[in-house]
């Protein structure tokens, strides 16, 4: 269905993607997870054929992604793309539907996106969340086999996000393929059965949400010590990452209780102790490091 084969993409000196290979099969719901600038949007753009790989190949339904036959079977929601403000919601959906070989009825697209009350409003008068739902309507109006969603819930409130994810879930339940990018782990967890983690243009993990969660849902333990620590002091602790900066120590772990118990047992005196949930960025850093070591 969707295939990247050893794709590298450089923008000037920046290597946005570095030898990415992946296959997405019919009916899969895949979340591409990664921090900002990791290469998620670039991956999607290459899958869609709106950007050309510097090296490697992209295939969509076995075709060049720029082939209109391939484009006719996909629906797309992109970050920051604009739509004409002076068209009404039903007009622009009707227009986009005419681009596709076997589109949905306009009324159905409007209903799926929950825009019934705004059907005859001008696009420019929509709120941010409504606009996002319009993008969803435009993405599904062609009755696509594959839906590409690039950061679809950015700017949505909690209710909006929940409804939106439910709609995508329904779409996927019909056996359609969904590829979405996100930097929210919960979102990936809720929707996808497969999570591809990208960082610095490389795939650093590709497995189920549960496995990814186990790896990244860590805590960080921050403290100062009365004497400088060395790596030897941390030997054998269940850590997924650590930073030692003379007296300041920052640890990343899934099991902070064991780590602390062990540190006390080793007689290390701690001050300014702080334990908090690790943010995703940090978890990615830890993952990348552990990949590099492995």
């Amino acid at each position: 269905m969707v295939e990247l084969e050893d794709v590298t993409k450089t923008f000037g000196p920046v290597r946005a993607l570095d030898g990415v290979s992946l296959r997405i099969e019919t009916g899969e719901v895949v979340a591409m997870l990664g921090p900002n600038g990791a290469g998620k949007t670039t991956s999607i753009s290459i899958m869609l054929g709106t950007r050309k790989p510097t090296a490697g190949h992209a295939r969509l339904f076995g075709l060049d992604p720029r082939d209109l036959k391939a484009r006719g079977r996909i629906g797309v929601m992109l970050q920051e793309s604009g739509v004409p403000g002076m068209l009404r919601v039903n007009e622009i959906i009707d227009l986009f539907a005419s681009y596709y070989p076997s589109p949905l009825q306009v009324a159905e697209s409007i209903k799926v996106a929950g825009l019934q009350e705004k059907a005859t409003s001008l696009v420019k008068d929509l709120s941010g969340g409504q606009r996002q739902r319009l993008y969803l309507a435009l993405a599904i109006c062609g009755n696509p086999d594959v839906l590409f969603l690039d950061e679809p819930t950015v700017g949505m409130d909690v209710d909006g996000r929940r409804n939106f994810l439910a709609e995508i879930g329904e779409f996927a339940a019909k056996g359609r393929t969904v590829v979405l990018t996100t930097h929210y782990l919960e979102e990936a967890d809720q929707l996808a059965r497969r999570v591809i983690v990208i960082d610095h243009g490389k795939v650093i993990a590709d497995s189920t949400p549960a496995e990814i969660k186990a790896r990244v849902a860590g805590k960080h333990v921050v403290f100062s010590t009365t004497r400088p620590l060395t790596d030897a002091d941390l030997e054998g602790l269940p850590l997924t990452g650590h930073q030692l900066n003379s007296h300041a120590v920052r640890l990343l772990t899934n099991d902070p209780e064991t780590v602390l118990r062990e540190l006390f047992r080793r007689g290390i005196e701690l001050t300014n102790l702080e334990v908090a949930g690790a943010d995703l960025e940090e978890a990615f850093v830890a993952m990348t490091h552990s990949e590099a070591r492995a």
Binding site: L48, G49, T50, R51, K52, F61, G62, L68, K69, R71, G72, I74, V76, L78, E80, S81, G82, V83, P84, M86, L87, E91, I92, D94, L95, F96, S98, Y99, Y100, P101, S102, P103, L122, Y135, L138, G142, F148
Partner: protein
Amino acid sequence: MAAATATRRQVAPILPMLRKQSWAEFIKLFRVPAFSTTSIVLPSMFFAFIGLGQAKQSMGPNVTFGQYFLASMALYGVANVMVLGFGISLANERGQKQDLLMQSTPLPPIVFFIAKALSALAIAFLALVVLSVFAAAVGGVTLTASQWVTLGARSMLCSIPFIGLGFALGYLASPNSAPAVTNLIYLPTAFASGLFFPMHLLPQFLRNIAPYLPLYRGAQLVWDSVGEPIAGGTISEDWIYMAGYTVAFFVLALWAYRRDQGRKFN
């Protein structure tokens, strides 16, 4: 895969797509009052300011100032729609990244361009009708039936090179600079081509460069259609110039389009 897709239509039919896209482009332009009123009403307004008072005055053996200025404003109006309609709206659409989403749909770019051209031609035609009705009803300008038809046809034909120029400007100018750039190019050349003042009132250096301006060549053609003889040269020479400008502007537009695409989508 081949068997599964064979039963299904693979691309949407082009004609309904073109029809809907053209209509959408038309209402997009039409619903922006700043654009639709200026492009549709402006030529008539200029006619009211400059043409009405002296409409009956003679400009030559068989042409009144009213007839002459109607032809001038007809050309000014249609070309104005092309240069501003495309130049500014296209630059704005790029500024809002509307092309990003369009690029990932199966809409063939050529359908998009033809639709834009058709919608602008429709607005230009509206401007022409409003101007003609105004000049005839309020200014008392009379033309024979064949003169009306010739004027209309030549104005519309002369707008075609400006479609290319509008596209080129739309891809070359940034959204913020587009209005300034297009006006900076368009207004002075309209004056230099004698659309607002008869050529003999212009300074000599402008008269020297005027024959190389597309609006000047177009002006000869529309003036000729209302009875003002061609000022030097022949009709066919003017048509050849217009054809040349058409090719040149469309090549420029294609280059500007490719350059923009290359920047964004490579």
